[in-house]
């Protein structure tokens, strides 16, 4: 039997390889890869389920007052009673988060490339970036509301600001991680700098970029919600703030739950994309080839 974790290479070339003791296997399909991914990540789901059971247990045994910690049942009831309400606000936050995340990636990658090309630019931009990172977003968010009003603008801006830094840092590290001998080889091949960038530097930087993207994805959710806290009439941050004012803990918990799920979902999507795009990377290899039994 051939174990399914075996890393397989393309081709239907069983015959050519056999003489040298190499038999090729066909590349796993999308479904198979997704299956493999689920199989590898069942543990976190199990942990989540356990937490859930603990939550249910604590409230069912009435260890805390229901107005402090509502039961899972009450929380889901809160959602079931007003599905459009939750759907609408979740959608708003999702929109802000995804847009902020995408803008952060675009701006971050471009900034990183520019900084790696020119050390003057790097020296100029780095302190600015650091400043933008260390300044508490919750403190400047009100300013954005003053500038941009109560619409989506300030929320997206805060999401961008929070997600941007990990993208730049990881991309700069990635672009600089290329083996100098590889670059020397490239110049003996007469490569133009554009060729060296697209064929060597950029692909080599992707594993680093993706580890930054995973941090950035969760930051973007936080950013959007922070933006909503400061001034909004829509979004999960608004829901939580409103529920807080009404001491409506089931709705508050529902908002928190959806928000966390949103962050996790975005993270998982990024991780899945990484798996899809970088199967060659050491951290992504399915434990290499396993021996056949």
């Amino acid at each position: 039997m051939v174990t399914h974790t075996q890393s397989a290479r393309a081709g239907q070339r069983e015959r050519a390889g056999e003489a040298s003791g190499v038999a090729e296997r066909s590349r796993p399909g999308l479904g198979q890869r997704l299956g493999g991914f689920l199989e590898r990540s069942w543990r976190p789901f199990a942990l989540l389920a356990a937490l859930f059971v603990a939550w249910w247990g604590v409230t069912a045994a009435e260890l805390v007052e229901p107005y402090l910690v509502p039961s899972p049942g009450d929380t889901f009831d809160a959602i079931a009673q007003r599905p459009e309400y939750f759907w609408e606000h979740t959608w708003t936050t999702t929109y802000e988060t995804v847009l902020g995340f995408v803008i952060a990636i675009a701006v971050g990658v471009v900034a990183a490339v520019a900084m790696v090309q020119s050390s003057t630019l790097e020296k100029t931009l780095y302190p600015l970036l650091l400043f933008a990172q260390v300044i508490p977003k919750i403190a400047i968010a009100p300013l954005f509301v003053v500038w941009l009003g109560f619409g989506l603008g300030p929320k997206i801006l805060v999401a961008v600001l929070m997600a941007f830094f990990p993208v730049v840092i990881s991309m700069v590290t990635g672009l600089k991680s290329v083996d100098p001998e590889m670059l020397q080889l490239s110049s003996t091949m007469g490569a133009k700098s554009g060729q060296t960038f697209w064929k060597i530097r950029f692909p080599a930087s992707l594993p680093h970029l993706f580890s930054g993207l995973k941090v950035a994805a969760t930051m973007a959710v936080t950013g959007a919600v922070v933006g909503e806290f400061v001034g909004a009439n829509a979004g999960l941050g608004f829901v939580i703030l409103q529920a807080n004012g009404n001491l409506d803990t089931p709705v508050l918990f529902a908002g928190l739950l959806i928000m966390s799920l949103l962050g996790v979902l975005l993270f998982v999507i990024v991780e899945w994309l990484e798996q899809l795009l970088l199967p060659w990377h050491a951290s992504r290899r399915d434990e290499g080839a396993s021996t056949t039994i």
Partner: protein, 258 residues
């Protein structure tokens, strides 16, 4: 004037950094005939890698002249192939695509490049591994891929910097035999840096000995072995023993004099 493949004329290389100046090479003069196989041996840090980088134009000489086929070298040269100790393969590309990187960068006609790649894959015994990613290949296989990549454009000069240094002894011997055969088949000029005196003598027409820092040419040994060199019998030749002993004495004496 275009008589020599590689000419290094009275070259000095100094590295200048904030902390200190290092003179890596001084007064180095050497000439390599087209089609010749020349090895460079010497203690660590004596400037062997610097010498190859100089020949390829990756490093400028502080003083002196470097010429390839009579043409002054200033800036990286395209008419060479380079192999490093690390295979330096792109880990997301298959063996074949790594070899073809050379063609892509040079914008060689795709058909011609593919045919040449097939030929080299066959020649180096990589058949059956074309689609493997670097991490799926052994060290010896990876180095074969690097060699194919360096030979794809039929460079008149091949520069190799301790290409087999990371391989086990047996694989290394095997690669020596293959390199000798490939050199004979391609007729390219080879400059090989190595730590192994046996490797240098088995493969070369000439062995250049470099002394410790600052590196300079301490002597040249002509290897008078026949063109056809079967590994075992060659090792047993009196000429082989003579050449290796000569080099060992020379390098040993240089080290003792320090």
């Amino acid at each position: 004037m275009a008589g020599y493949a590689v000419e290094i004329d009275d070259v000095t290389v100094r590295f200048r950094s904030k902390k200190r100046d290092v003179t890596a090479l001084t007064d180095v003069t050497m000439r390599v005939e087209p089609g010749e196989f020349v090895s460079i041996v010497g203690p660590s840090g004596c400037g062997k890698s610097t010498l190859l980088k100089l020949s390829s134009g990756l490093l400028p000489a502080s003083t002196g002249d470097v010429r390839l086929f009579g043409e002054p070298v200033n800036g990286p040269r395209k008419d060479i192939g380079y192999v490093f100790q690390k295979a330096a393969l792109l880990e997301w590309r298959s063996a074949r695509k790594n070899i073809l990187l050379q063609a892509e960068m040079r914008k060689m006609p795709a058909k011609e490049a593919a045919a040449r790649a097939d030929e080299l894959i066959e020649m180096t015994g990589l058949s059956g591994f074309e689609d493997a990613l670097p991490h799926e290949l052994s060290g010896g296989m990876q180095q074969r891929v690097a060699l194919c990549r360096a030979l794809l454009h039929r460079p008149p000069v091949l520069l190799m910097d301790e290409p087999f240094g990371a391989l086990d002894a047996l694989t290394r011997e095997q690669m020596n035999v293959e390199l000798r055969r490939i050199w004979q088949e391609t007729g390219t000029t080879v400059l090989l840096v190595t730590h192994s005196i046996a490797e240098a003598v088995y493969l070369s027409d000439q062995v250049v000995m470099i002394s410790a820092r600052p590196g300079t040419v301490a002597g040249v040994v002509d290897v008078n072995l026949p063109v056809e060199r079967d590994y075992g019998p060659t090792m047993a030749e009196p000429e082989f023993a003579k050449a290796t002993r000569h080099i060992r004495d020379h390098l040993g004496a240089a080290a003792a004099a320090e």
